[in-house]
């Protein structure tokens, strides 16, 4: 993938732009190191310095992109979160709300029903509460936990997608700039169009519905995912096409700087979409915590001296 050569392209741009700008000003480039320098013409040294200054920032502009987040770092974590999803895939539902991928039900979770059958006949307060407050809502709570983790996983997908596309976009900017420098001396007006694919990285998922547990409103979860993965994303809007022009070396490089600035902005926008959805999710979970986790059963804190008493197990019938 050409992205691996990004810094090489950056230096090429700097080199080409410098040569062209020097030619434009009538100055000659400095001789390569180790060779005797040309006898300086009047003003040539100042011109060289001025031109060098004009394009001195180019490698730095690309350096940050060369070191930007690696999509692979997200891929590995996504697989690990997937393990958690597989664990909590219950018999009731096993479909990821974002990707619509199916997860085989984890039948170990069914053993909660077996536990229920063994505790059913016990009359102690804690035993009965365990049935009504823990076992009874269990399927709904597992469902909601699964949804929460799916949203967490989809957010990583979305973040990864941003950086996959950013690589393509910065690579295109580099190539288009080189092409523009190669073209600027030809007869036509030097224009080109760039589409920023990063703009459509993150797709929203219509409210992820939760299983109701307690009475009252059940708020759904806001999810975002990688647009390439979101099942119901629909056809995305065309990413914006931006025109650039440059018939001199400084003009071409200015266009490049504009493109990079735009790319920065689009990346920030897409990341903010993820941030907003996650923040909203945290709030939704906090507001309906009972839907995501049952309180610690009283039975869990029974002691040897009180466990058989009426407050805990009581008697069986």
């Amino acid at each position: 993938m050409s992205f691996d050569n990004l810094m090489q392209h950056a230096y090429e741009i700097q080199q080409q732009a410098t040569l062209k700008a020097l030619t434009e000003s009538g100055a000659r480039p400095a001789a390569p190191a180790g060779e005797p320098q040309l006898a300086p013409r009047h003003g040539e040294q100042e011109t060289r310095q001025r031109v060098e200054q004009m394009f001195g920032d180019i490698p730095e502009l690309f350096q940050a992109f060369a070191e930007m987040p690696d999509p692979a770092a997200f891929s590995s974590r996504i697989s690990v979160v997937d393990q958690a999803l597989k664990q909590l895939s219950s018999g009731w539902i096993s479909e990821d709300p974002v990707t619509r991928a199916s997860y085989r039900a984890n039948h170990d979770l069914d053993e909660m029903l077996d536990a229920e059958s063994h505790i059913e006949s016990w009359t102690g307060r804690a035993a009965m509460e365990f049935k009504s407050n823990f076992i009874s809502p269990f399927p709904s709570i597992v469902y909601n936990q699964f949804m929460g983790i799916a949203v967490l996983r989809a957010a990583l997908d979305a973040e990864r997608e941003i950086w996959v596309r950013a690589r393509d976009d910065i690579d295109k900017i580099a190539h288009d700039t080189i092409t523009a420098l190669d073209r600027m001396d030809d007869c036509g007006k030097n224009e080109w169009v760039m589409t920023f694919t990063v703009v459509s990285s993150v797709a929203a998922v219509a409210g992820v519905a939760l299983a109701p547990v307690s009475f009252g409103l059940s708020l759904g979860l806001t999810a975002v995912g990688a647009s390439s993965q979101v099942a119901a994303a629909g056809v995305p809007d065309d990413p914006p096409a931006v025109r650039f022009q440059g018939d001199t070396a400084p003009a071409v490089v200015d266009s490049m700087r504009d493109a990079i600035r735009l790319l920065h902005g689009y990346i920030a926008e897409q990341e903010q979409k993820i941030a907003d959805a996650l923040t909203s999710c945290c709030q939704a979970v906090a507001q309906q915590r009972d839907s995501f986790v049952a309180k610690r059963p009283a039975l869990a804190d029974a002691t040897q001296s009180n466990v058989t008493g009426p407050l805990f197990m009581g008697y069986s019938t």
Binding site: Q15, E24, L181, K189, E191, T248
Partner: protein
Amino acid sequence: MTGERIVGLLADRLDNMHVTAVAPGGAISGELRGRDCVRVTFAAGRYQWLDERYVEQQLAGLGRLLWAGRMRAYWAAVSEALDTPVSGEEPPVGPRDVDYQAARGGIVAEGRSDDGSVQIEVRGMRDWTVRIVPGSLRRFREDEFSVRVQQAATALIRDQFAQVRSLKDTIYGTAG
């Protein structure tokens, strides 16, 4: 920064361009290689029967055809480099573009062979005029005459590009 220059894709395509054409009468063929290297050849046995006036018209026609071929190859190369189909120039936007396009149409480029026996002139890369010093076809062998055409054509192409560059610097240069 030293070392070998990495060549961009477009530069590579332009450096390796190859365009061929046959003059309207069929007696003369031409090819353009790279940016400015032109070679003409005559159909077998024809050279000795041609006169300067005829060759001037034929070379003018050949010039037009080669340049049209060159521009097609150019747009194909640009499309490849930008990874999107581009087949021509966008309409002018703003006064500088308008000025540039008008002035470009009026550029008269000229090239002549080292000894002056062949001269080629083109206005706006559209109106081609070739002048051959009378007697040149009899004075020079076919290969010697071809060399002179090559010299004139190369000089013309370089003059055209130099004038374009200068015009762009004038019109687009001050604002950077």
